[in-house]
Amino acid sequence: MSATIAQAPARKWRFSLSQEWLLLIGIATLFIVVGLINPRFVASRNLQSILLANAYVAVAAIGMSVVIVSGNIDISVGSLIGVLASISGALAVAGVPVFFAWAIPVVISILVMMLQGALVAYLRIPSIVVTLGMLSILKGGLISVTNGVWISGMPDSFHLAQWHLLDLFIAAEPGKQAAVPESLSALKPMFDLLTMPVLFMLFLTLGAAWWMRNTAKGRSVYAVGGNAEAARLCGIPRERTLMMVFAVHGLFTGLAAVLFATQPSVIQSTVPPNLELTIITASVVGGVSILGGTGTVIGSTLAAILIAAIGSALIFVNISPYWLRAAQGILILVTVLADIYRRRQRGLAR
């Protein structure tokens, strides 16, 4: 008797370990193990490049998570990011003020996603079909409009990645090393990590997490994803909620596209291959159930970082990067199996 009572809390603690904590432990383990094998892996320069190069994936995964929680999926997101990045670059090269070169793609993204949302919500075409069609349209449109020409020659201020947090305080020119006051120099490595895209990633993740968790609109996404009919009976309209979901997804996709476009000095006019797959992987590994109704955006951001870190770690332990995709596949599989295992344990514990 007493034994069962004593056991209960321990078991509860063990199995209520959330996906977010598991991911944090995974990331920590990866950094410790690979850091011991090759210390250069944990050098701030490498951490910076991992975060900087993948912040846009994490931001896009936030929107994807919202869509998947609502019980839908979007496979057009990779091509849309490619299209928006080209638009953003083309606007900047054409001499449009930098702010508009950032803002216009975001607006376009929201409109495209709301169009898809309308097809899903009001005309009731399954999201996988709508976004599959849109994927063809965007991908074909992108290549045939740009003719595969890379876009380059954007003004320096266009590149968000070169803005550091310090620059904002010290008002230095972007891209130039700010003259760091003596009092702050000890903190410089930390500030170096916090480039604009990384700050975006942090604030957008926290903002979206708060929105999903604490607002009525955010909760309604879970309600519709969990059981659309029950949600309707509670007075949450499926259609309007889905429109909102796709608009939010459009916002994050647009921001992700701007982060993507402003990071390299050349914008390729092809969509990064399998980008949608990486984004969906981040959402799923982050604990978003593909069946809808559960998951958080903090998990998806952590998962995006973990996936990026694994990719970088392979290089540092001298494994050919060609194995990266296989590692990703195993990662999804392990996550999903762990989730199924945990649910069964929980089911048994009850």
């Binding site: 996988i128 050919s320 999903v336």
Partner: protein, 324 residues
Amino acid sequence: MSATEARAPKRLPLAPHEIVLVVILAIALAVLATLSDRFFTLDNLLNQGRLMTEVGLIAMPMTFVIVTGGIDLSVGSTMGLCAILLGYSWKNFGFPLELAIVFALLVGTVAGFINGWFITRLKVPPLIMTISTLALYRGLAEGISQAHSVRGYPEGFYLLGQGEVWGVPTQLWLLVVAIVIFAVILARTTFGRSLYAIGYNETGARFSGLPVDRIKLAIYTASGLMAGLAAWIFVSRVSTTRSDMGTGIELDVIAAVVLGGTSIFGGVGTIAGTVLGLLLIQLLKDGLALTGVKGDATIVVIGAVLILSILITNFAQRRREQGR
């Protein structure tokens, strides 16, 4: 009026969505044939048949899978893995070519079986399972080959992909046989009817005593096998093996199946519809290319046709339901 419309489909050989497709196909053919005199020639049409064989072969089991309410996104990667293993086992392990082909087909079958096993035994949702093997199988293909290609196959190997039998591309015969077999299974056998039952209501099918798990395991395995077969044909057609073979083919396949009227929710769909979807996509691609539309713009049209055809069918269906 509407009452007769509602009853009519039962007596027609084709379901309403397929009629929509036949009409679109006829219009497309007529327009394209007038725009380009090279389009409506036997040579061109047979060549298009050659080009659509791989997608067509994979679309057959995909129709089954989607009819049961599942999906298989890993077919393109399975194809890549099979192609790499075909080339590698022949060149690097020194297998005779025949054995290498059998090995590749076997690998495809096992790859499909793994999908099916996880989906049925561990209840992993098909979308997730096949997304993870989409990454895994492609990753294995890339890892094993280290992005090196294999070429220099003996001349006889190209008969399947580049040769002709009785004036028709060799692989087109295979596709025709596959279409007939899969169509008969889906429409005329208990197994085929069970697929609809599972897609329409899986719990109901289970309670009716159907071996749901075994049937699902069988169709995912078949999907892997057909991906392996498509890999063999693909390697033979393009004379080389690369790890990125079949990338994105799952989207072409699903587009054809869905365009063919198979509901992504399961329970509805026919092989005839899938074949019409295949033909429409391939002929649109080809016809538009011949009339001077750049290759990449053609997939824009296909995306639009996909969404439009589903819209038209949805509207027609809703009109009929309101008529009742």
